[in-house]
């Protein structure tokens, strides 16, 4: 992880660590924080705790997003402090979920924009002039447009991949695929390394092809407190517990000191919290294989 981040994440980059609730690579974010990256433009549909932590740690200059809350728990307070008080200063570029999805679709397809039937009657285009419109050349209908998003680096967390970075993902897919294809550089982080034959036995499950991947990291529990379907549950207690930590800047700093700066890597982070594994490890619910023969 240390080498992958050192090599592929630079100050000032537009960084995407996606995963819609599922497969969010906190391990990568923590390494970026440890390596003290600065002036990043962070993009995700939901900042989630991961960008709240990176904002608190001073990594971010700008946030591109569509929903900045902590569901069922409260707010992302580092984000709110930045926006309400300017501590630290944070530029915002705000869309809706569909807008962010469409930005990644355009980016992945190497088109300059994506059209969508959206935003009429809302104040979002007023707040964000990058939301524009176009008249359909065929029907004359006015459609909203959002500009393509092409990140400098996207970090994808997957359940398994082979040594070439052919990554297989199941469960909620979010926009990981689109973000990866849109990106200049891709780091795949996986729970498990498997042989290429395992990947080839079930090619429909391959979401990220190794040909677009720059680095492969094997990091079990790399998504905690987020989850990996089939490996471990979401740590809902942690997400709910983040509300009082995030609300108090001193408590946020103490958390970062102990669990981010105070550990060398994710393995040490997990060794520090031995009860996590027992509490969150997934139960078995296997799907029967299918016949790919002909």
């Amino acid at each position: 992880m240390r080498d992958a981040i050192a090599r592929h994440v630079r100050d000032g980059d537009t960084v995407v660590i996606e995963g819609f609730t599922h497969l969010i690579c906190f391990a990568a974010a923590h390494e970026i924080i440890r390596q003290k990256r600065r002036d990043l433009t962070l993009a995700r549909l939901t900042p989630d705790l991961i960008y709240d932590q990176m904002i608190a740690a001073g990594c971010a200059r700008k946030l591109v997003f569509s929903w900045a809350g902590n569901p069922g728990a409260g707010s992302l307070h580092a984000f709110r402090r930045a926006v309400e008080k300017g501590t630290p200063a944070l530029e915002l570029e705000e869309y809706s979920h569909f807008g962010m999805v469409a930005r990644f679709c355009a980016g992945a397809a190497r088109l300059p924009f994506w059209p969508l039937r959206d935003y009429m009657g809302t104040d979002l285009p007023v707040a964000n002039p990058r939301i524009k419109s176009v008249n359909c050349p065929y029907t004359g209908e006015t459609l909203a447009t959002v500009p393509a998003l092409n990140p400098d680096v996207t970090i994808v967390h997957a359940q398994r991949c082979d040594a070439d970075g052919n990554a297989q993902i199941w469960g909620l897919l979010g926009v990981q695929r689109e973000a990866a294809f849109a990106s200049e550089r891709v780091i795949v982080v996986a729970e498990e390394l498997v042989d290429a034959s395992v990947v080839r036995a079930d090619p429909n499950r391959t979401i990220i092809p190794g040909m677009i991947v720059n680095a492969v990291v094997i990091e079990p529990w790399g998504a905690h407190p987020s989850y990996a379907q089939g490996y471990y549950d979401r740590d809902n207690d942690f997400y709910i517990g983040w509300e009082p930590i995030s609300r108090d800047p001193a408590a946020t700093d103490a958390y970062l000191r102990e669990f981010v700066f105070g550990v060398r890597d994710r393995a040490e982070y997990m060794a520090k919290q031995p009860e996590l594994s027992a509490r969150l490890k997934a139960r078995r619910q296997m799907a029967a294989g299918v016949n790919y023969g002909y």
Binding site: A68, G72, V101, D118, G121, T122, L173, R234, I240
Partner: protein
Amino acid sequence: MTAVAARELRDGEVVFVGIGLPNLACNLARATHAPNLVLIYESGAVGAVPERLPVSIGDPALVTGALMVCGMADVFQYFLQNGRIEVGFLGGAQVDRYGNINTTVIGDYAAPKVRLPGSGGAAEIAIHARRTLIITRASKRVLPERVDFITSPGQRAKGKSRRELGMPGAGPVKIITDLGVLEANAESGEMELAALYPSVTLDAMRAAVGWPLVARATIAALAAPAARELTLLRDVLDPHRRYLSGAA
């Protein structure tokens, strides 16, 4: 409130589910009169049958046993924009006279007094769902004459009707609150009082709304939740009271 919202759903309908009270209402409906309700979550779970109450709309329990799991590009383009979602459920920090919802900022966008989470999928849900139900507590703070920022458009925005603005869905047809239910007037687009809980007076309802509330000629009496509905809500669906408070 949750029980009233649940009753709005018809068996077999395709519902886009948000977290919180909408999630509870949908799961209550599925457990009572609408066992064939199709739950779609914007995270990509289609036909979800969660065994535990999801804390978020991306909970792993939404995937296990679902009919289909797709990427979000498919959910928004092929399900929502394609017109396949029959009911959208939304909540909001502020909802105004025409059902416009604000989940973005209290105050000025550039220097907000309170920065709220933002749209998420709400803007497009309000535009595309064949009809939208809004569920929120009633108070003057929550129901102002005009919202500070229109995140999700209602029946009239910026002086124009939904049709004039080119929105395909019917938009918010009801606002379900803990005091009563407002319904959209088909012509004016204004939210009018259509039903009250038996314990709530018309004056109390008016005092909780930030515009001169029009009351319909006949105000229906809302039935209190049945014992079975309450048991399901309090003991099965939300035993830790994450989302329920006094008003079920």
